[in-house]
Symmetry: C2
């Protein structure tokens, strides 16, 4: 069905001629064609208008020809649909004016009917699938329950998410209730996304690395694994845990199809810790895209040599930065396509 | 000479009745007696007035009886002495109005005579040694060249220090010149500190974990190792690299007396990666001090069991948070003193 199925084959662990490539946050930020749309429409209008979300999603594919598209959206559409107010402040990022900090707050959070509350996402998926015309697979994503919890409790971005952790450590009963509500909603949401047409789902645990290995199991992994178990027969699941190297061994035992890793781990260590059998995705330092294009190409080839071309998806170790020159992003994608020729 | 030499013995790897304990950032922040001084004097006045710096240094020892004191100061006194303007903005943190961003900027940075430019630190050490009256050892510290570089180039704190990394990746020649200047100054500074009376030195590589393993060797570890080699005959050197688990193997081969680790690594992994022979220091999650005191005590005992009581210094995995209740900090220290009784 999908003409370029390199990404799907890598997720199955099949032998490929070269690894597939895409970039986290490829839809948006650094693209001039995106910046034009951004000037006209605010953040949530872009997310909620299927024509805009689908246009933004396919822009990088048109320009660079990655092997997968990822739907333009945000992890915070979930709490927003759950009766938690979410604003996106320019030059500041997410801002939640009424963060959840106690049992009373947890009680006001609702598990919604995602087909109603998040219908605009499903419409965006349908529009995108039409645009993509089966050229490449489409990825749908969600934040991990812990990462969504971090924003819902902290109320904004943070270097330590100390208020989110404080809530867990001083009121674990209420914290677990909230995490379970996020988990239940995320499962329903991702199932609806698959039904609407996404081929693969990725869970972003951006703040899992804030937790100790023991606390990670209790407050993050337990819930991610519920999602994997619920989704495993619907679509391949990729789990990306930033700073979560310490949990790779446990993660590799799950039914996830692939694990994303950030740039602070060597390919050798990532393979060792994940047991060598599961597909890995990553892990180019996003700041290294500021190196000259010729150097980027060399480093990408080295990275593929280090991970091995099979059971591997080339990606960055976190989202692309807004200040990356187009030629440098192109060098990254081209280097993968030129591999093994 | 020093009455309580538990800390010095642990640094030598000797068998001890219980591990020593201190807390990163124990001088300041969460102590009411510090907050009184803070109301009256601004940040650099506190650093530059020997009576204030020494009073702040001994306050936590008086209240909790840790096994080591650490001189109240800041890692940014070094760039400040090198012709780089540094301000400390309330509710913002360090702010450097003229960050170093090119070769011209690097050329204006001077390697100073530390005995002149940083004499106030040496006076603070002498005053503190008198106050301490040989009860416990005194630690002097410096930032790693990379971490100081991060602030000097970025101009302020950052989640990614992308401008500092951009400078390294686009102008490595100038970046290495600046790193070498910080290294030369740090060596002279730490030697002067030992001469003035500190018993141990600690290097804080707070932002080493922003780099990939390969880049870490080139832009951070190389310079830290120069400092270790220069200081090894003067005093025991502790290196704390936040997020630098991936470099532990390399670090353990150096002449450092101990390695600090953050809370994202298990004791078992830390021992494994560091080879099992070097003294380790850490690694209680600072946010976990928000748990009830009885739980803190249990977790501390578990942590000592996991690291083993020898070749081990109990500490946090990063600095103590400002909002930690006194009873909780006390529970942390007491738990160590009650171990093995």
């Amino acid at each position: 069905m999908i003409k370029n199925d390199l990404f799907l084959r890598a997720l199955k662990g099949e032998t490929v001629e070269r690894p597939p490539v895409w970039m986290m946050r490829q839809a948006g930020r650094f693209l001039p064609e995106f910046m034009k749309i951004r000037k006209k429409y605010d953040f949530f209008t872009r997310c909620r208008t299927p024509e805009l979300a689908s246009e933004i999603t396919v822009q990088p594919i048109r320009r660079f020809g990655m092997d997968a598209a990822i739907l333009f959206s945000d992890i915070l559409v979930i709490p927003q649909a759950m009766n938690i107010e979410v604003e996106m402040k320019p030059d500041f990022g997410p801002y939640l004016p009424n963060p959840v900090r106690d049992q009373k707050g947890v009680d006001t959070v609702v598990v919604p009917d995602v087909d109603v509350e998040l219908d605009y996402v499903m419409q965006a998926i349908k529009a995108t699938k039409e645009e993509l015309n089966n050229e490449v697979p489409l990825i749908g994503f969600a934040g991990s329950p812990w990462t969504v919890f971090c924003y819902a409790v902290q109320g904004q971005g943070s270097k330590t998410f100390d208020k989110a952790k404080e809530f867990c450590f001083t009121n674990p009963v209420a914290a677990h209730q909230l995490l379970q509500k996020f988990t239940d909603t995320t499962i329903a949401y991702l199932k609806a996304k698959v039904k609407a047409g996404v081929d693969v789902v990725q869970i972003f645990d951006s703040w899992g690395g804030m937790l100790s290995p023991v606390d990670y199991q209790e407050f993050s992994w337990k819930y991610i694994n519920q999602i994997i178990e619920a989704l495993k027969d619907d679509a391949p699941v990729i789990v990306f845990g930033k700073g979560c190297w310490f949990a790779l061994q446990e993660m590799a035992k799950s039914n996830a199809s692939a694990l994303g890793v950030d740039w602070t781990i060597t390919a050798q260590n990532a393979r060792y810790l994940s047991g060598g059998n599961i597909t890995l995705q990553g892990n180019f330092d996003p700041s290294r895209l500021l190196s000259p294009p010729s150097e980027i190409k060399k480093m990408v080839h080295q990275m593929i040599d280090d991970f091995g071309k099979d059971k591997y998806i080339v990606n960055l170790g976190h989202g692309i930065l807004p200040n990356i020159p187009l030629d440098n992003a192109k060098a990254f994608i081209d280097a993968v396509k030129e591999y093994n020729i």
